[in-house]
Symmetry: C2
Subunit: 343 residues, 2 copies
């Protein structure tokens, strides 16, 4: 059996390292094709792994291996400064393992900024890609769509949006199972003359990229959750605002649904919780495994800061699948198939 | 009794003119301080008003007056071209009434683009304001916040965001009842160096505008529905995307929660509907009366395209209240209180 190794940042996220350790052991036990390199403060992490059911066995069999990292980057630290100061952080050492081929994928629920900066600095750029982008899978009426960029590149050029389209479509096909992913460009209206200069120029590049891309034109904000296209491309400023606003709104809705259901069930908390269960999980953004940083060589998944053991398990398994499906190879092929654009 | 007159576009919106006529009559009957100038195809509109309970009386007493407009602008027409071709549209004639002082406010559920273009061309710019902006009131955990710009100005300068802050705060105070409205600037993170050039420059202008503005610094997407600040300022591209995405997500969530509640109530549709009632209304964006175009002389409210009679009534009453509270005067004073900025 050839196992795929995922390097996991044990120290990242609000519930680290406890929930990360628990999620990693659960993932290793669930998938025989998975090995985890768990990177963090070994004195903290080892007892947590050993305390999990099956944890000692997983360590003994090498299904979970520990790599000591003496430092960790906090959620509120300035990413680039922290990386410069902390040369042996859990994020940095886990990415080193990917760069050096000791792991096929990376997963962290730590600082998005630090993960993006460390991966951008530490891993090679994928061939032909000017700037990496964060892709976020969102639950829609028709299944799942991919929105990118979620914030890696707040002031892109039109050619970056073209690359995002190709990378997003490759991700949708290889990881999310969309057979022939369609692409839309986020705008404030459907008419040709709408929007900013950036959007109009990107629209021309996207239209000219057929048949490499299945570009369907402008989409608007409401198309996102309708699932009008499999991939929606936008700048990292807008994408970040849309995604964080939607997440905040989902939290508010969930709270209100809970109260409404509780009242309807005559105050029976257990029944209300059971009735809301699947919907609540679907609405919880931490449950969706993590957002990949596309455009670097290797699989880099960034989990939600609130990730609990369940979300960590989902994320680590998703990272393994993405590496196994050769997401990086599919990306490179998709970008190579684009017509050349003068930058 | 001195009555305030609101000019209403009878022909705008998916459910016009029937639901507009019904909502207008309901508003006039509810508020003795209101007169409506209902502008549209009189042959269509008069019978609809007369068919409403109290409609004939409202016409006879002049509580509802009809103004014939032989043309209407469709939702899908190009705004500026349509305005050029149709000189006597319901939107155009209703705004003429505001410009000429025959009405104190305007309300339409028609094409947002046509309303913005017609108001920008037809009404004077408010003193000191470079570009008008659409403000949208959104339901938050703490009550209501105002996000602007919702799409009138997709490529603003930093000084436009400064004006938006002052106008949004005036609107929050005068119409929404926020005693000392706070202002946040939408960004991708809280740290000073985050975001685009535009955002960093706007942050400097906003910080320098104390004490005229209660500026609280950067806010992120998730702060929006938390109600972290009373006013959130952003460019019209991002604002439009955020608001339309949130509206689409709210529709999806409501649909799913309805199904969940129905299952929990053993398939009893009546009980499920009753349990969901107030929450569903709160989550329905058409229920919130309309978004004002701030920065033109006069009160201009743009209702949701899906507005039914109830939403029209809410919107017309909101337009009356805004005019009575002298929203336009409060805006002008707020902008005049800002420090001068070289454009």
């Amino acid at each position: 059996l050839s196992r795929l190794r995922v390097a996991v940042d044990a120290m990242g996220g609000d519930l680290a390292p406890r929930e990360v350790a628990a999620g990693v052991v659960a993932a290793a036990l669930e998938s025989p094709a998975l090995e985890v390199l768990l990177v963090g403060d070994e004195a903290l992490v080892r007892p947590l792994v050993e305390a999990e059911p099956g944890g000692r066995g997983a360590l003994a069999e090498g299904r979970v291996a520990l790599l000591h990292a003496p430092e960790a980057i906090g959620m509120d630290e300035h990413p680039v400064e922290a990386l410069r100061r902390k040369r042996r952080s859990s994020i940095g050492l886990a990415l080193d393992a990917v760069r050096e081929g000791r792991a096929g994928a990376f997963w962290s629920a730590g600082s998005t900024g630090a993960c993006v900066a460390a991966a951008s600095l530490g891993l090679k750029r994928a061939a032909g890609v000017r700037r990496p982008a964060i892709a976020c899978a969102i639950p829609t009426r028709r299944g799942v769509s991919v929105l990118l960029d979620a914030g890696a590149n707040v002031a892109p050029k039109a050619v970056d949006l073209l690359h995002q389209a190709a990378m997003g479509a490759a991700y949708a096909r290889v990881v999310l199972g969309a057979a022939e992913p369609t692409v839309g460009l986020l705008n404030v209206g459907a008419e040709e003359e709408k929007g900013t200069e950036l959007v109009r120029e990107a629209a021309r590049l996207l239209a000219a990229a057929a048949p490499a891309l299945r570009y369907r034109g402008f989409v608007e904000g409401h198309d996102l959750f309708r699932g009008t296209t499999d991939v929606v491309v936008t700048d990292g400023f807008t994408g970040n605002a849309v995604l964080k606003a939607a997440e905040g709104q989902a939290e508010l809705h969930l709270e209100r649904f809970r109260a409404c259901l509780l009242a309807a069930q005559g105050g029976d908390e257990g029944r209300a919780r059971a009735a809301l269960g699947p919907l609540a999980r679907d609405m919880d953004w931490a449950e969706h495994g993590g957002a990949p940083l596309l455009g670097v060589e290797g699989v880099v998944l960034i989990g939600h800061g609130r990730s609990d053991a369940r979300a960590v398990r989902t994320g680590v398994l998703a990272a393994r699948r993405a590496a196994e499906a050769d997401l990086a190879g599919a990306l490179a092929a998709a970008v190579a198939a684009l017509p050349a654009v003068a930058a």
